[in-house]
Amino acid sequence: MYSEVAILQNYLVVGALLFGIGVIGFLSRRNMIVMFLSAEMMLQGVSLSLVAWSRFHNDFGGQMLVIFIIAVAACEAAIALALVLMLVRRTGKLDVVVWGELREDNQLPFEEADLPEPPTEPCEPWPTLTPAGVDPKLKPEQTDCRPNV
């Protein structure tokens, strides 16, 4: 039997997780759309907490606030996506680092860190599915191992 408090805790934990993931996503990703999604996620985390508290206190104020948040978020989404679209049209890139041009004059630009070298040895090919009705082409060793198939 869960007490009310325990239920509230579950909601709050989920809300906090949503918010935390959103923060981490916002801070770590460079794709503007993903960053926007992360921000939305933070918003939803907060909304969830608000709803939970509202339910806990039996006060509809929190839920009302959430409805407002949803409405505002919708508008904000429209604007933000339009903005992203325009930015992409200018540069052809979704990378937010491109807009580091807006820094103060004498600040150093963002230096792209070197990506790790791709592994030199060829890797195992991914398994493939043979279309239906055709004998799969098997390597000789595989036929050896699976004589009865």
Partner: protein, 695 residues
């Protein structure tokens, strides 16, 4: 609403003002070569109205008829005055509480500046003289200034100048007097620098303005002191329904009260400060240096400045302030001394100058010195003589300047007497009129200058019994009369006699001037011949002027009556001596410049040996002395201030400006353009906030 005198008073200055506006608006585009018409018509009308005003005032001020209704009922009016209040310009209520110098009533000093014009004999005479001379100068200018690119500009300034001067002599308040005092200075600046393309003309205009400024500064201080002493700056009593509402400095109440005028240190200080202003405007030592340089202006303007509209203002002001000067014997002595000294000094300088206009300029300074000498004698005779000399001088000095302008016009702008000569056949009209002017200036019987100069000397001689200073000033005046006759005829002979020489600059101009120029010359020549004799013999001038309140005041003071009776015989002796002296001066000029020019070099060498010649030629080095004493130290001070401003003050300001720049440089790395960085800052802020809340 207004009676005749009031209407005349209002219209006389209004006419030239209208001409100024009309020419300023229409001159450049529409009138062009015809720009002189508004000026001549307006000043002509003003002149007619001024003459009418003189007649009207003369009629109304006759002592036999009682016109006391303008004054407080029951008291016997001193002199004749009539004022017309147009509107109130500014008022500060209860500005000042002061103990009235009259009776024991305390006046609530409302500070009021009303636009009030006054009519009294002094004003009427000045108005008539100013407008008459200005009219002739304006007519003359039509010929003189033709083809000048600034023709319409010239005829915008001239009526403005006349307007300022007519207002100056007809206002009835020290503040307004000061305003128009400045306006006259401004107009003279504009006109002296009329040919502003010439650097000398621009510099001369600036010099005139700055030197006048020193005088005006003294005048302003004098006004402040007058206000704190008397609590009013009006000339007249303000009367509301028969009651004296506020006193005027030269109002009937003050004039009728013995001891109303402050004597002692304060009284002397007021007089000396006012005198400083008068010295600046009337080019008296030590502020005389601007007038000779002002010769850079067009010659009609010289005539206007010297005869009618500018330098006479100082003399007028001192004459107007007679009661103040009467209260301070020391101030009288200073006035007389400055007058006598300037007369002698300027005459000595004029002896050796070679620029015809400059000779005339120094003669003006010298003659103004005579006027101050007369005013400084501070008797009824002295004051009227000073004003009479102002009056006659206006005619013959305008005549001489216009004559010089005529010569200059014919000689293609050359005015150095060494470069031309023997012009009497070439320019007969100019020659004869110039001769009349010279005789008047030299003071030869029966020309105008004789009468007025003679009375001044007589008045000074009379005062010699009172104070020994006047005896010396009398001798200086006689010597100056000798010098005046000599240098006047030196210039005259050099210009019109001897071998005919014409400078090559003259070109085809070398002929007699047109009628618009010789006409005024002839009118003025007739004036130079008759005005002195007419007004002196009919006693018209002095008798009329004596009815001015502030001059009539002298008649009410007892000590006057004693010496006057003995004056007549004395007067004749002085007249004979001064004529003899003048003839001696002319004789010397005839000897040196006509009969035996060879003697000249010997005399020059003898004078040079004692250093006198060079001293005179160098104008007693006043410009150099002022340069060393005033201009160089001020320049050095200015440089010092410049240095302090540039290094200290600017350095401090720049240091203050550096502070935000440094702070900005410190904060700038925060704006690195990385969105994540900003987001991180927000998150960290959030965490700090949460931490604070949880603690």
């Amino acid at each position: 609403m207004f009676d005749t005198i009031e209407i005349l008073l209002i219209l006389i200055p209004l006419m030239p003002l209208g001409a100024t506006v009309a020419t300023a608006v229409l001159g450049a585009k529409i009138l062009r070569g015809q720009s002189h018409w508004p000026t001549i018509v307006a000043i002509g009308l003003s002149c007619l109205m001024s003459l009418a005003l003189v007649l009207k005032v003369s009629g109304e001020s006759k002592p036999a008829t009682e016109h006391a209704d303008t004054h407080a009922a029951g008291t016997h009016a001193i002199g004749y005055e009539k004022t017309v209040t147009l509107w109130s310009w500014a008022a500060v209520e209860d500005a000042y509480d002061y103990d009235s110098p009259v009776g024991d009533s305390v006046y609530q000093g409302d500070f009021r500046i009303n636009i009030v014009l006054r009519a009294d004999p002094l004003t009427a005479i000045m108005l008539a003289m100013v407008t008459f001379v200005s009219l002739l100068v304006a007519i003359y200018s039509v010929g003189y200034m033709h083809d000048d690119p600034g023709y319409w500009r010239f005829f915008t300034y001239i009526p403005l100048f006349v307007f300022s001067m007519t207002m100056l002599v007809s206002v009835s308040n020290f503040v307004l007097l000061y305003v128009f005092w400045e306006a006259v200075g401004m107009c003279s600046y504009l006109l002296i620098g009329f040919w502003f393309q010439k650097p000398e003309a621009a510099a001369a205009g600036k010099k005139a303005f700055l030197v006048n400024r020193i005088g005006d500064f003294g005048f302003a201080l004098g006004l402040f002191l007058l206000w704190t002493t008397y609590g009013t700056l009006d000339f007249h009593d303000t009367i509301v329904s028969g009651q004296v509402q506020s006193l005027g400095i030269f109002g009937q109440t003050m004039l009728a009260t013995p001891g109303a005028y402050v004597t002692g240190g304060v009284g002397t200080a007021i007089c000396l400060l006012l005198l400083l202003g008068a010295c600046g405007k009337s080019a008296q030592f030590p502020l005389h240096v601007w007038l000779p340089d002002a010769m850079e202006c067009p010659t009609p303007v010289s005539a206007l400045i010297h005869a009618a509209t500018m330098v006479t203002a100082g003399v007028y002001m001192v004459a107007r302030c007679t009661p103040l000067f009467q209260a301070s014997t020391d101030a009288q002595h200073v006035v007389a001394f400055i007058g006598g000294f300037t007369a002698l000094l300027a005459a000595l300088i004029a002896l050796t100058q070679t620029d015809l206009k400059r000779i005339l300029a120094y003669s003006t300074i010298s003659q103004l010195g005579y006027m101050f000498l007369g005013l400084g004698a501070a008797t009824l005779l002295g004051i009227t003589a000073g004003m009479f000399h102002l009056f006659t001088h206006a005619f013959f000095k305008a005549l001489l300047f216009l004559g010089a302008g005529s010569v200059m016009h014919a000689m293609g702008g050359v005015i150095d007497v060494r470069q031309f000569g023997g012009l009497r056949r070439l320019m007969p009209k100019t020659h004869w009129t110039f001769l009349f002017g010279s005789l008047a200036l030299a003071g030869v019987f029966p020309f105008a200058g004789f009468w007025s100069k003679d009375i001044i000397l007589a008045a000074v001689h009379e005062q010699a019994e009172v104070h020994p200073l006047y005896e010396w000033l009398y001798l200086a005046g006689l010597f100056t009369a000798f010098l005046t006759a000599f240098y006047t005829f030196r210039a005259f002979f050099l210009t019109f006699y001897g071998k005919e020489r014409i400078p090559k600059e003259a070109g085809h101009h070398a002929h007699e001037s047109p009628l618009s120029m010789t006409g005024p010359l002839m009118i003025l020549a007739v004036c130079a011949l008759v005005v002195g004799a007419y007004f002196e013999l009919t006693h018209g001038f002095a008798g009329f002027l004596e009815r001015t309140p502030s001059i009539a005041y002298l008649g009410t003071i007892a000590h006057e009556a004693a010496g006057h009776a003995a004056g007549e015989g004395n007067h004749l002796v002085v007249a004979i001596i001064s004529t003899a002296v003048a003839l001696a001066g002319i004789g010397l000029a005839v000897l040196l410049y006509l009969i035996r020019p060879g003697l000249r070099d010997g005399l020059t060498r003898a004078m040079d040996a004692v250093g006198l010649y060079r001293l005179s030629l160098g104008k007693f080095y006043f410009d150099e002395i002022y340069n060393a004493l005033v201009i160089v130290p001020i320049r050095a001070g200015a440089w010092l201030c410049y240095w302090i401003d540039r290094t200290l003050v600017d350095g401090l300001v720049n240091a203050v400006g550096l502070f935000p720049m440094l702070v900005g440089a410190g904060l700038r790395p925060l704006q690195n353009g990385m969105v994540q960085f900003y987001a991180m800052a927000m998150v960290l802020g959030l965490l700090v906030l949460i931490g604070v809340l949880l603690m």
